[in-house]
Amino acid sequence: MINNSLHAFTSIVRRDLKLAMRNRSEWTNPLFFFFLACSLFPLGIGPGRDTLELIAPGIIWVTALLAAMLSLESIFRSDFEDGNLEQLMLSPHPFTILVYAKVLVHWLVTGIPLMLLSPLLGLILHMPADGILLLMFSLLLGTPVLSLIGSIGAALTVGLKRGGMLLSLLILPLYIPILIFGTGAVDVGLGGLDASGHFLLMGAILIMALTLAPLAAAAALRVSI
């Protein structure tokens, strides 16, 4: 039975990755948004090197968070509309495991690319090289949390016609801790201090989200369908 469930998990991951590869705009649009929104800040604030360097970690983190949030609807939306989600729910496998697969794919197609794109943005916002490394590492720990917590909001609003605005209202307050520690790690590291405390806390949040969020998302999906 466990082997079967694992098989169901991997086949969902494979299928969703294939779908994402065939429908490229779904995962490239958040990346373009990320890039575009980041480049709006120098235009709004002014191109001064010192100011940009100071606020770059915050800008990159906030826009990455918004980009991840805007792509959340895609986790369950299309499967909900064509009835796939109902079939998954009827399957004998634990529904939470199938939700894990969905969230993992969301992270693979948005979180990882966002993290890989962040050095480029750090560069144009004049971040120093060691700051960029810290930023990438904090995004590596932080983006799975964004996908995991976000999946709860996506599950709660999947049945609603215009759930996008509501989704951000539900999810953004819950994103605050990871944002604080994510930008905090970079700031502390750039200040010459040891950032490992922040990273450990982010890891703790990640483990907690990993164990609890899919349960909540699965329960929410059962309500929504």
């Binding site: 709860i152 709660l156 609003t157 049945g159 609603l160 759930g163 509501l166 209202l169 539900l170 953004l172 307050p173 819950l174 605050i176 801790p177 604080i180 520690f181 905090g184 806390l201 949040i205 907690m208 609890l212 909540a216 329960a219 929410a220 309500v223 929504s224």
Partner: protein, 245 residues
Amino acid sequence: MWKYLLKLTSFKNFYQFSGKLLPWLGVITFILFVVGLYWSLVIAPIDYQQKDSYRILYVHVPAAWMSLFVYIVMATSGAIHLIWKTKLSEVIANNCAPIGAVFTFLALVTGAIWGQPTWGTWWVWDARLTSELILLFLYIGYMSLHSAIEDRASAARAAAILAIVGLVNIPIIHYSVDWWFTLHQSASISVSKGSSMHPSMYWPLFVMATAFKFYFATVLLMRTRNDILERDQNANWVQEQEKSL
């Protein structure tokens, strides 16, 4: 005992029971407010540093306590509804949200009014203020999710899940902003260390906090009774109630 409690959770029995309870709660709330307000605004000594402006804490602190307490009540009754599917807990959870949001708003506004003369600014990005603001957003999110879903039963269940997720998050949010930046003084009263306030200032605060608790219970019962009547409007006992008026 258990059987008796279960009986109480039916709409009809709860309506009749709370009808008997409500006048008492109302009277106690009124007396506590009269005593507490007079004590805190007139009798309690003036603070040597903040002069009279400190007296707003007699509203601010109970409101801030209640903002968290109401959230816990809301999430707990939401969880009870999810597990045992009792109708009453659903109604209670839903009616907690607007009351709790108002307490949170009151705590924020009184805090701002107090901060202007004391800190010299209406708003600072301080840990407690920020977590209180986030709490307000959690309440607003709860209410908008509940009103966005048309089907009443699934709206209540979805909102309950959100409330529980929020409850797990509140300590994390609290500590994250706590370590982030803080200007607010640490709590003067704690369960483990007792109170660092002088008794002449502490006791009126205690009375006010109790008054706020009773006020919450009264308003919650009134709202719940209203909701019960609306939901059961076609039931026999409601029709009879109407005729007897």
